[in-house]
Symmetry: D2
Subunit: 116 residues, 4 copies
């Protein structure tokens, strides 16, 4: 099975369609699911300080990876359904980021580009 984005998208869409779940997959519920999975990633780090996070990452890498995979799952399925070429979109966005955050102005600061 193809191990790239196109291959995974195909696998996920086939999984979905075999279960006749397309009927539930409007953009609102897809994006809601995306948020819920992102929140599950974040929950792993609630209340933890830096040392506790490092320990948790070492001990629960598999679980955190599974949550991140859930986020990626919805990114891929949503991109498919909305006919968005997600890698082209990332390429474009990243090119913009490189312009919005010039190295000399942005170095060492977590300031938004519009306040740099």
């Amino acid at each position: 099975m193809s191990k790239d984005i196109i291959g995974f998208t195909k696998r996920i869409v086939e999984f979905r369609d075999a279960r006749d779940w397309k009927q539930f997959h409007n953009p609102k519920d897809l994006s809601l699911s995306l948020v819920l999975e992102a929140a599950e990633v974040m929950e792993h780090f609630q209340w933890k300080n830096v040392e506790e996070m490092e320990k948790h990452v070492r001990e629960s890498k598999e679980e955190i990876g599974a949550e991140l995979a859930d986020v990626l799952y919805w990114v891929l399925l949503m991109s498919h359904d909305l006919e968005i070429d997600i890698l082209a979109a990332l390429d474009k966005k990243q090119t913009k980021n490189e312009e919005k955050y010039p190295v000399e102005k942005a170095r060492g600061k977590h300031t938004k580009y519009n306040k740099l």
Copy 2:
């Protein structure tokens, strides 16, 4: 430039490191950023009914794609920093999903696997 996940991850990490932003990128803030970007995707569909969503997707595909790209950006950067092979994690998760949701039981239902 490589157009696959590994190529994009490399590009994003180099972009980040050139700006000396690693110091801010603890897992808590990375996951918080992931949630914020997922929320921005979801905001596109707030209050809209099915027809309004279809119209919005047609008219704002570029903006929605940019938001989904932001989510993917944090998935890739976070996976890199936590040393998670995100495609292996997705492969594993998807294999589990296929077991948890057998076609004959799950077809046409949006029920969680533990209530099927």
Copy 3:
């Protein structure tokens, strides 16, 4: 026990302080917790259509109420810690909303005030 916002805030703060949890309650983790609880409210309505939501509200009112209470818990605790008078803030915000959305312009539309 007082059944208003001031009484509940006092009760929650005393509950927290008796457990020596103030040390974990920086604004980032408080707001992260607020998001997680809001996400749990939202999860109740994932994939459901209007009829299914109505049925679910009838059958799970207690659970949904408990999740909404969790959100309110963090609103009150966070307002306390940041020395924000939350009812004064709501009064102010609502006065602004009334100006930003004049009845004659906003009636029957889910358009943001800056696009009305």
Copy 4:
């Protein structure tokens, strides 16, 4: 105007109904809005360390209060629409919390009750 929860709920519902917005206010979109506003609270603390958060709270108390008020707005409106007595729900939830987290077991720990 009444400055308590019941008074504010009345004011918010009248504001909404005067604009004929009830038609958009199904539980899914209400909870989605709740999450979006909670995310806006959280965004205030993205990337900031403890000192930066303290400074930000001092300098932007009004803005943060307005975001927290937005969260409370949706808690009150949603509770109204779903016929949930939110203060009774909070009372009940808090009574449970007091049982789930006995002082002697929970003191100084950010552990979930089921792992205490």
